[in-house]
């Protein structure tokens, strides 16, 4: 099958590649670009481990073809840290609140949470739970992920994070 030339901006850098039309975006990111932080967990668009940010949308990169992302601007987990290399508020929140265990869902979870906080900077717990409902975590039971996102929201909003009483 003839290959197609694609160009896109990934984590701020212009990238290009030759792909088959059927090449899934997740494989282009992981294999062509060698950005392996984006994971594959279910392949049926349920688990969200492959979530990346594409032109301001959280998308499951296992259910979109690389050719569809022609000209798009994409952020993967490798592009989330602050410019000075320190952890972003969300990355720090996940660490501080123990929002991860095996780490496999974490990149997708953080990318999704980042977009959620951009759209809703002060979400309630219910809004957070709805907001990450396209991402499955098998280890944490979500409770500490919710706290991690609350921690990040507080930090971004410049207020002290107050952990809810049990």
């Amino acid at each position: 099958m003839a290959k197609t030339h694609v160009t896109m901006k990934v984590n701020g850098a212009e990238v290009e590649g030759l792909v088959e039309p059927r090449t899934l975006l997740v494989h282009f990111i992981r294999e062509n670009l060698q950005l392996t932080g984006t994971h594959i967990g279910c392949e049926t668009t349920h688990c969200g481990a492959c979530t990346v940010d594409l032109d301001g949308m959280s998308v499951k990169s296992c259910t979109i073809f690389a050719v569809q992302a022609e000209g798009a601007s994409i952020t993967t987990i490798e592009g989330v840290a602050n410019a000075d290399g320190t952890l972003s508020a969300l990355q720090e929140g996940f660490r501080m609140m123990h929002g991860l265990q095996c780490g496999f869902c974490t990149p997708g979870m953080i990318l999704r949470a980042q977009r959620l906080l951009q759209e809703n900077p002060s979400p309630t717990e219910a809004e957070i739970r709805m907001g990450i409902s396209g991402n499955i975590c098998r280890c944490t039971g979500y409770q500490n992920i919710v706290k991690a996102i609350q921690y990040a929201a507080a930090k971004i909003n410049g207020v002290q994070y107050q952990e809810a009483a049990e």
Binding site: T4, R22, T44, T45, V59, I64, F65, E70, R112, S133
Partner: protein
């Protein structure tokens, strides 16, 4: 879980898309959000030779109010529906329903046109469109035509679309001011299709139902309009006996398949309950 090979086309206009689809024939499929089609392709349950991606067609996007109708471009995503003030104002049931579809990521990609056009009985929008009395604009090699939603669905994945035709926009009459509405969907979890769901739009006058439409999702090979159930409630105050009769009338036309969501009897039973609950909640919302 890798799709078979295909050629990719990205037309810039509806005319080009139609030209491509009609010349490529059966082996071509339009690609909207792709969140039904791409999983099927990964399972190789669908193996089109050509994909015609509609994302490059600006004319297929957008939400417009035209007098007493709202027109929605087929490539408008669920996320855009949810973000639209116009939808929240004119068609709050559409907002409510969009929020119950799949999950946030899928809603960024999934389009209203794809949801209504692919004929999947599990999709939520078709029954809602029938309830709202929407019509679809279909454009093809022989020109454009309007088909009302209630005449569009012929069987599971079979619709009124002719070869080479695409659904380009949806036109929905704005329900009367003060109308009541509800979309009651029973599902096992986020991301699931409905075990059964019911859409209700009604108006009340003097404590009695003045008009009512009821749509049913995923309880038959096509979405259904429960016309007899709707007829039974008009003129009543939705007393318990009427609700029971209406639910029974709706259940009578259901023919769901047994699946992991439950046996036929259960899916019909909860289908009736969804109707009752949607009627009750809709009535309470009338002003």
């Amino acid at each position: 879980m890798i799709p078979g090979s295909f050629s990719y086309h990205r037309p810039a206009s509806v005319a080009d898309a139609i030209k491509l689809l009609s010349s490529l024939g059966d082996e071509a499929r339009p690609l909207a959000g792709g969140h039904s089609l791409i999983p099927m392709m990964k399972l190789r349950l669908a193996s089109p030779d050509h994909l015609v991606d509609l994302h490059g067609i600006a004319a297929l996007k957008g939400i417009h109010r035209d007098g007493d109708r709202v027109s929605i471009g087929a490539m408008t995503t669920q996320h855009e529906l949810l973000a639209s003030d116009e939808i929240a104002r004119s068609l709050p049931i559409l907002h409510e329903t969009a929020l119950l579809i799949a999950d946030p990521q899928v809603r960024y990609m999934g389009t209203i046109g794809g949801n209504v056009a692919n004929g999947d009985p599990g999709n939520d929008m078709p029954a809602l469109m029938m309830t709202l009395g929407a019509s679809y604009r279909l454009e093809g090699p022989n020109g454009a035509r309007e088909v009302v939603a209630s005449e569009f669905y012929q069987g599971a994945y079979f619709t009124a679309l002719e070869p080479g035709e695409i659904l380009t926009s949806i036109s929905i009459p704005v329900p009367a001011a003060g109308h009541g509405y509800a979309y009651e969907k029973l599902k096992r979890k986020i991301g699931d299709y409905a075990t059964a769901a019911a859409a209700v739009v009604l108006t009340m006058s003097g404590g009695k139902v003045a008009s009512c439409a009821i749509g049913l999702t995923n309880v038959h090979e096509t979405p259904l309009l429960a016309t007899e159930a709707a007829r039974l409630v008009v003129g009543t105050s939705l007393d318990p006996a009427t609700l029971k009769q209406a639910a029974a009338a709706a259940v009578a036309i259901m023919a769901p398949a047994a699946d992991a969501r439950g046996p036929v009897e259960y899916r019909k039973h909860v289908g009736g309950i969804m109707v009752t609950r949607a009627l009750t909640r809709a009535a309470a919302l009338t002003k």
